[in-house]
Symmetry: D2
């Protein structure tokens, strides 16, 4: 198996800007996260965007789709903001690529104590190698088909529609 | 899907004893790790042992097997020391249970900076839900069949035999 | 020596609210921080407020002053937001109490990777025991008299006026 | 004020060696710790040794003394193992240098969760600037004169003799 990791931003990758005093995007944490995971299979990393998913536009989703189409790896993990993860999943799902594409993210940024980011990334790297071709949302040990998932914003969890 | 998590000890769960000045076992980190992962599927936790895997005896492996046999969940993740992970996998593999059993662990203890423990745990929780029934070693994004894995101690990685 | 620690909020004590998706205040980290520091002298903790220092009003500063006046300890450490640390220092300085009062805080919240919070807290606990009576701002290994300090917001550091 | 930081090893600076599976010394964490503290006064760093303090010999203590003698800074912080911190303090104390020399360390290594290392380092950087010339042990918010301190090994704390 080989894996491609796509960074698009989202809570997972937010960084505390000490001058501005707020969470924003700096450089992606993913290269460090991949090193930390000590991944022993071939893995490629690509930064498509670093956006809050509420700021993601159609053109951004098309760039994500283009990266998935161009990838030579059969398993793809996309780090994405949770708020519009489903919308991107729908764009990718409709394209019907012969690949296993997993969207994941985090409820707490990677650099903040008690973050679920590394767990979700590991989980996504697992199911990206084992699920049949298709597009999935994988968060907090739960796999959802792209056409049957929604974020419950008040509870802060994903659920079936 | 439902998951059962079995703690047996190993590097993953080591704890720094500040009086003795060395790494040892205290209470398992797994309950905290499970909470941190915000797992949204049913999950059961069971502490079978807290041992360095070099200290694990046949009787300990039989207890792990007994817990796997008794489990009502179809997916089982076992946190285990890396040094004899393969030996325990062989005991479980030979039993041929109708379950998906994943052994995982860590190269760096969970409580130490830059640990791979949370990644490996997430990875194991993913493949425990998606692989066919059988026994597997899953470390650092790589899945191995139980009868075809060994630890390369000088490189600190798992590889096929 | 004995110490009193006063929490008033500020960057040091911010907490990531995973439902709202932003940094806010939950319960103070200070009780955990004090435990972690393994302080072996008598220490009292008091939560006066949990505010962004930009939201601190005259009445809040008067409550901080009242706590300082009422304290039986001769050394007081106040955890405070950086943006109006000087204004609170001025209120306390003018009161001319026979105590050593140290205002400190953090450029990065305690719960975020690479935070200076624990260092600044340790630094403040040191100079609170050793400086003559008076009011001081102590940040990033630098002690300032209360009447001669300002925050350089573009550089994110404190400096003399 | 200016500060000199001397690394000599000790629990503070221990590093988990994932191949050997134990705590040892790699490169010192101190350069990273100093950066993290965002120190805004002039600071010099010097690595004298990286030793478990039980392995420290007379010659090593003489090298620490030589570094203290040669230092142009008036405040010196020495990161040292706790087990023989008092012995080194005695060597330095007898030399009667016209400098403020603070020995500190940690009960839990810097890279392990819940470490007191950063707190102790901040504390030491504070009292190194404010105490009269002399040699002190400063641990867990408590300052001890060099001739009146001992480690209580069963309790894991320092106390007066």
């Amino acid at each position: 198996m080989t894996l491609r990791i796509l960074a698009t931003g989202g809570t997972f990758d937010k960084h505390y800007d000490e001058i501005a005093g707020k969470l924003d995007f700096g450089t992606s944490h993913l290269p460090d996260v991949i090193k930390r995971a000590r991944i022993t299979i071939p893995v490629a990393f690509e930064q498509v965007a670093l956006l809050d998913s509420l700021d993601m536009k159609d053109a951004d989703r098309q760039r994500v789709l283009a990266s998935c189409s161009a990838a030579t790896e059969s398993g793809i993990v996309i780090i994405h903001g949770t708020d519009t993860m489903r919308e991107t999943a729908e764009v990718l799902g409709a394209a019907n690529l012969a690949k296993t594409i997993i969207l994941t993210g985090a409820m707490i940024p990677y650099e903040i104590a008690n973050s679920d980011a590394l767990f979700n990334f590991g989980f996504a790297c697992g199911v990206a190698q084992t699920l049949p071709h298709g597009v999935y949302v994988a968060m907090n040990a739960h796999v959802f088909a792209w056409h049957n998932v929604q974020k419950n914003r008040s509870a802060g969890v994903f659920e079936t529609r």
